[in-house]
């Protein structure tokens, strides 16, 4: 499992961990039944607080990506990846809806918005 | 009371004593060799030719004192390590984070003190004989008495030293107080005979005689009390340690 954290990102660390693990589950790097490293080991390796990893793991479990077996650890839940993807697409649509509403209030056109999206994908913002 | 932490504390004190023993032994050796060589030179060697008899007998007392002084060194060594613990409190802070109580620490230090005094007493005997042999005199009861008294006195001084360092928070002031005490004792010792001494001109043989008689008087009166004195010193030292290490900073 690869986790690469960025200190300069505005995204909180626990959020970065969650996103990266979710992504790996969705693209198949992590499959059902795979064991995640223990919270403490992960914290020690990444040199962050165990409270952070605990928070990330708790949210992953709450969102249905993992499950924990007391005494054994955290494991990847068998996913219906299509369903998950659909769920994430839906969430993205919600966010875009909000972005469109905001854009309208300052008179940004749909094309302007598309330009911004291109730049974001290209990593320029 | 003989729980593990006591032996650990004792072990530490013994190690510290061992380290100072080495230095003490070397010092003692010098304190012995020097007078012995001088005495032998008085009797058989070159000094005999240079120095007149009368001067020799006068300085005899001082020379006789030298083995006693070196022996009593060993009684003072434990207090040297104790003062270290008093001036640098880190060890005590650490000790307080463990189960080792102030009582056990005081006990361990007192045991070491007793060992130091015992070493002094034991060593003083052969040393007295060596000096006596070198000076061609007999070992008298007074010589032994002198050793005992001197050792008891020096032990008391080291306790005074330690206490002063603690209460005045400085080694220099402690030294001053101890010196003050010593002067007071010498003064008390000399007081009864100052009257007679002033009547005599300096260098007169009678002076030495007066001194010697006075010294012998003092020794014979006080010597029997030495065991009591030593016990008293040990008790005071124990109480002092207990007070210092138990007392939590205000």
């Amino acid at each position: 499992m690869d986790i690469i954290l960025s200190n300069s990102s505005e995204e909180p660390i626990y959020q970065q961990i969650i996103s990266q693990i979710k992504a790996q589950i969705m693209n198949g790097t992590l499959t059902a039944g795979d064991a995640l490293p223990s919270m403490r080991v992960l914290a020690a390796q990444l040199q962050i607080s165990v409270i952070t990893t605990k928070r990330a793991y708790e949210e992953l479990e709450r969102d249905g990506y993992t499950y924990s077996v007391p005494g054994k650890g955290c494991f990847v839940k068998g996913q219906n990846t299509d369903f998950l993807r659909e769920e994430t697409v839906r969430q993205t649509e919600e966010l875009l809806k909000k972005a469109c509403e905001k854009a309208k209030t300052c008179n940004l056109s749909a094309d302007d918005l598309k330009e911004i999206i291109d730049m974001l994908y290209g990593g320029e913002i | 009371m003989k729980k593990p932490s006591f032996t650990a504390l004792l072990y530490r004190e013994l190690l510290l004593l061992k380290k100072s023993l080495l230095i003490g032994s070397i010092g003692a050796l010098i304190f012995i060799l020097f007078p012995v060589l001088i005495l032998l030179s008085f009797r058989f060697g070159n000094l005999k030719l240079i120095i007149p008899e009368e001067a020799v007998s006068g300085s005899m007392t001082i020379i006789k004192l030298m083995p006693v002084m070196s022996a009593s060194l060993f009684a003072m060594l434990p207090s040297e390590t104790a003062t270290n613990d008093i001036t640098k409190p880190v060890w005590d802070y650490f000790r307080r984070s463990t189960q080792a109580s102030a009582l056990r620490l005081s006990l361990a230090k007192t045991v070491i003190s007793v060992i130091g005094i015992a070493i002094s007493l034991i060593i003083s005997i052969p040393l007295t004989y060596i000096i006596a042999y070198a000076s061609g005199t007999e070992v008298t009861g007074n010589d032994i008495g002198l050793s005992l008294l001197f050792i008891a006195f020096m032990s008391l001084m080291s306790v005074v030293f330690g206490a002063s360092i603690y209460f005045f928070k400085s080694v220099d002031k402690g030294g001053l107080v101890m010196t003050g005490f010593m002067f007071a004792f010498v003064f008390g010792f000399m007081a009864p005979i100052t009257g007679e001494l002033t009547k005599m001109p300096p260098g007169h043989a009678m002076r030495d005689a007066i001194m010697e008689t006075h010294l012998n008087n003092v020794i014979s009166t006080l010597a029997p009390f030495t065991p009591l004195m030593l016990m008293g010193v040990i008790l005071i030292q124990f109480a002092l340690f207990l007070f210092i290490f138990k007392r939590r900073e205000k």
Partner: protein
């Protein structure tokens, strides 16, 4: 050993000295975590730790360690804690082997094998006198002893001060290892906030004898931020919305304690992440309000 939630519970600790008062100090160190205790020199960190270890008596307040009262159960507690100081308490004429022998008699849980393993791991010579050790080696020796008797609580008083970054990192790694066991906890006082940025789970900030902040480090860092703006714009910022502000000729930097609220209220302003050092700087100046 009973079950407990907090390795250390301090409540209402007060102690008056001439010219300095520990004022109603309260905070908890959750079991299994490492608490960074930060503050300036003289802020009260060492005084608090001395009260913990019962080196000084407190005027009022209660302290619990490992679930037990620190005065009534002092004896039991001390078998299971280890204190590390900035100065090595063992006599400089001793060597590591002798120190080990002494510890054998001090703790019933002393593990000699583990001690020697640590010595080897730190490359500490066994027979060399402590006087010949470097500062880093002396600290590593102390830590070796602290971790070799099964202590459940490690209390470090400015133990990384004066050490070079490489050694400090080694020591932080050792702590991470120590915390792999959830039953272990660490209280670490330091003014080297960068170390605590890295390793602390919780942070308590003390200034002039008062606790200003205590809580999870992540939360504290997330909630605080530095608002940067021009001197003109700064005039629009309400005084109660920031802790203190650093005013330069070209801009103003203000520390806010509720980043989300500040973003909402002063949308458009640049609000950046912060670290413990900045938090300390800005809070220490909280009474001045504006400083440069």
């Amino acid at each position: 050993m009973n079950d407990y939630v907090n390795a250390i519970e301090i409540s209402g600790l007060t102690k008056k000295y001439d010219g300095f008062t520990l004022d109603n100090v309260s905070f908890n160190v959750p079991k299994g975590s490492i608490m960074g205790f930060i503050g300036q020199n003289g802020a009260g960190k060492t005084t608090t730790i001395r009260a913990l270890l019962n080196i000084t008596k407190c005027d009022s307040g209660s302290i619990k360690m490992l679930g037990l009262d620190h005065v009534q159960n002092e004896y039991e507690i001390k078998e299971h804690i280890a204190a590390v100081f900035d100065e090595i308490p063992f006599h400089e004429g001793f060597n590591a082997v002798q120190v080990g022998k002494m510890f054998r008699g001090l703790y019933s849980g002393w593990d000699e094998k583990k001690y020697y393993e640590y010595l080897d791991r730190f490359s500490l010579p066994r027979k060399k006198k402590i006087a010949k050790f470097s500062k880093g080696m002396k600290m590593k020796l102390q830590i070796s002893t602290a971790l070799s008797h099964g202590a459940r609580l490690l209390i470090m008083d400015e133990a990384t001060t004066g050490l070079d970054p490489v050694v400090r990192n080694e020591i932080l790694d050792i702590f991470r290892e120590y915390l792999q066991d959830e039953e272990n906890s660490v209280l670490m006082s330091s003014h080297i906030t960068s170390d605590l940025d890295k390793i602390a789970d919780c942070v308590t900030f003390i200034d002039k004898g008062k606790i200003l902040l205590t809580g999870y480090k992540d939360e504290i860092l997330e909630n605080h931020g530095i608002l940067k703006c021009s001197k003109e714009d700064f005039k629009e910022i309400a005084s109660e919305d920031y802790i203190s502000a650093r005013v330069t000729d070209f801009s103003v930097e203000a520390m806010v304690s509720d980043r989300a609220e500040a973003k909402r209220k002063y949308s458009g302003a640049l609000i950046e992440k912060t670290n413990l050092e900045d938090i300390m700087l800005f809070y220490v100046n909280r009474e001045k309000k504006e400083w440069s």
